[in-house]
Symmetry: C2
Subunit: 406 residues, 2 copies
């Protein structure tokens, strides 16, 4: 490339979909927080002090000693068989799913599950029905395929069935319903069993596919487990995603999709053209960890830490934030959802908050169509207890000042 | 999922592009060769005995000891800065490219570079101009975005400039020209300097983007180095791909894209929605290997082995195959291209060959439109010397028998 590289004679003639691609607030925040001393309540990062570094060192050595070159070579698109078998057994044990390894394909984290789902199901102009608000990275993954979104009103128990019916009446050719029913990102809410049944009944009656994104399901620290949509569904209407990012380490980029075998074959074709396969070494290291160590004990430590931090976050918010602030009370997962008093605009508070050293994600990023501006997502998993309390106290000051200024 | 899962009430309503997705011959072969004792001349696998397993064990330990949880956490979409800096320096040293880390984004192998390029540039119905034959996984990556292909006649020195002009006249809105100019997959051919200049002149005059896929460039074991298109181009007309898969280990799934900074930003947006980022641990382990060990010495061993095997393959083919067989004589890379005598159909020989324990890829997979049926791609990097000689001898028998039967 010559020095004059920026004077290209090429007019980069991008595909139409590129006009829909926007930088994610969260990823942009992550960049800033990597270069400055910032207390981040913004990302969805796990608590790094819980990563089992020593154990991973041991499994890395063992895999290279015992499996050698095979662990560094190309492998199959679907993923390492023992790992897919482990996932199938796990979902059999925890959710009663009658599946085997051929119902599973490994992905580069859940994000790739979203992308491959867009690739398989979405033509330009297709409609995705989703919760309002919904996971922002699902919006960007699906939007790259030129889809539109129909948002469905959601309360503390999940989508309102009547609102879902209306959305489907208005969009009779909608391709799929995308939901995060357990400890939702961004709100931390969990759908009740009744709402799950209602969704499945509506989807089955209308013959529409349900995509259940379940990255946080294992991270319950309070209340009773509610079955996954996938395990309540008798009709193969549900494709579900899972990931090792939140119960193990996100750096490995290992997630999975569970679906009928014929559908998994299609995912395999899509993944083959997309990136051939997941990292071979990563698949074998994670498998070895699951064989040699107690993942449930590890998940137990995560639950305990996140539960403690959720309590601390709620206590701090109740003590420090001005009257009129509303929050959700998640029973698991990584996030809570905060509604600001006095119609304050969360995005407008971000510069002042960043200036004082605290990052959060304005809620409007999670609404694909209508912008609700008075909300913010608070992550309580990543910062230490001290940082969390300090960060929320600072954020409360920013909010209080804005309220007084308004 | 209930037992009755296969009786879904959902009619899976796939996107139009799914009808274009086909299983790659190579990946399907790989599945078979994993379960049976087969001499594979089919895939594009590196020689596993050259993987530096001990050194990788050492760097894995060091990364986890010194970088700990950071190496297991989420990180940036563009990729680990020291690794992007290393690539920029390397391409400065070897190709004279005046680039820095911001001209580079890391990808899950070159396959993801292909996919992201499709995502950024290809709308349904767009035309990709390519060599005839061309890399089959590029065909599947681009085809997923609904493009068509214009194949350009190619001889031992590269695309025929006049044929390229004709293809562009016939497709004046073609989006990009995709080429593998050095040790091409599947033919092993390398474009001459003159043909490279002609391509760049034509592309610049018409303002069309050139995508240079260069996974094998460092693996020259004979002849003089010819500069990359990217380094001959003064106008920012060329986006190029590279990968650690062929000079290090493919299991890490680490490749890269080099382009102007504004274009890399777009790739970053596309990758963010696609899979967030590459494996954090892999990026740091590869970086540490490059810092602690001599990659050039390692590449030297690969070159020596592949050069020896290329010689062995040519000798064996010349000795064993029937008269009328033609082959290319690659000066580097992993593949040679064999044209069968008597108009034999390579795909029809595959069952007999597999039966006798030898896999190859029929050449027709590498032609997106017109099917040339009397060719096959021979990989000489993966099998041991003994297997290679034996495999080619068996394949020669299969060809001879078919010729006698015809």
């Amino acid at each position: 490339m010559a020095q004059k590289q920026e004077e290209s004679s090429v007019k980069y003639n991008y595909a139409r979909r590129v006009s829909n691609m926007k930088a994610s607030d969260v990823r942009e925040l992550l960049k800033v927080t990597e270069t400055r001393e910032i207390i981040s309540l913004g990302g969805g990062l796990p608590a790094p002090e819980l990563f089992p570094v020593e154990e991973i060192k041991a499994v890395a050595c063992k895999v290279l000693e015992e499996e050698g070159a095979q662990a560094l070579q190309y492998s199959t698109t679907e993923g390492y068989l023992p790992l897919r078998q482990w996932i199938a057994r796990r979902l059999g044990d925890t959710e009663g799913l009658a599946i085997d390894a051929d119902n599973i394909i490994l992905t580069n984290g859940s994000q790739q599950a979203l992308d491959l789902t867009g690739k398989l199901f979405l033509d330009e102009g297709d409609v995705v029905v989703c919760e309002s608000p919904t996971y922002l990275a699902a919006i960007s993954a699906f939007r790259a395929y030129g889809c539109r979104f129909a948002e469905v009103e959601t309360d503390d128990d999940g989508m309102l069935p009547q609102a879902l019916e209306q959305a489907l009446d208005a969009n009779p050719t909608a391709k799929l319903i995308y939901v995060v029913p357990t400890f939702q990102n961004p709100t931390g809410r969990t759908w009740s069993r009744e709402r799950r049944e209602a969704l499945l009944e509506i989807a089955a009656r209308r013959g529409i596919l349900v995509v259940e994104d379940n990255p946080y399901g294992e991270l319950r620290f309070e209340g009773e487990t509610i079955p996954m949509l996938k395990s309540m569904d008798g009709q193969g209407n549900v494709i579900c995603f899972g990931t090792f990012s939140k119960i193990f380490c996100p750096g490995y980029r290992l997630g999975w999709i569970v679906a009928e075998k014929g559908v998994i074959e299609k995912y395999g074709l899509a993944k083959q053209g997309t990136d051939l396969q997941c990292n071979t070494l990563a698949q074998r290291e994670v498998t070895r960890f699951l064989q040699d160590y107690d993942i449930d004990a590890h998940i137990g430590r995560i639950r305990e830490t996140y539960g403690r931090r959720r309590n601390l976050a709620i206590r701090t918010i109740e003590r420090e934030f001005p009257e009129g602030t509303a929050i959700t009370r998640p029973q698991g997962g990584l996030f809570l959802w905060l509604t600001l008093p006095g119609g304050l605009n969360a995005r407008e508070l971000l510069p002042a908050s960043m200036e004082k050293g605290v990052a959060f994600v304005p809620g409007e990023s999670f609404f694909p169509n209508e912008k609700v501006t008075n909300t913010m997502r608070i992550n309580y998993s990543n910062a230490t207890d001290e940082q969390l309390e300090k960060g929320l106290t600072i954020l409360a000051e920013v909010v209080t000042e804005a309220l007084q200024g308004a």
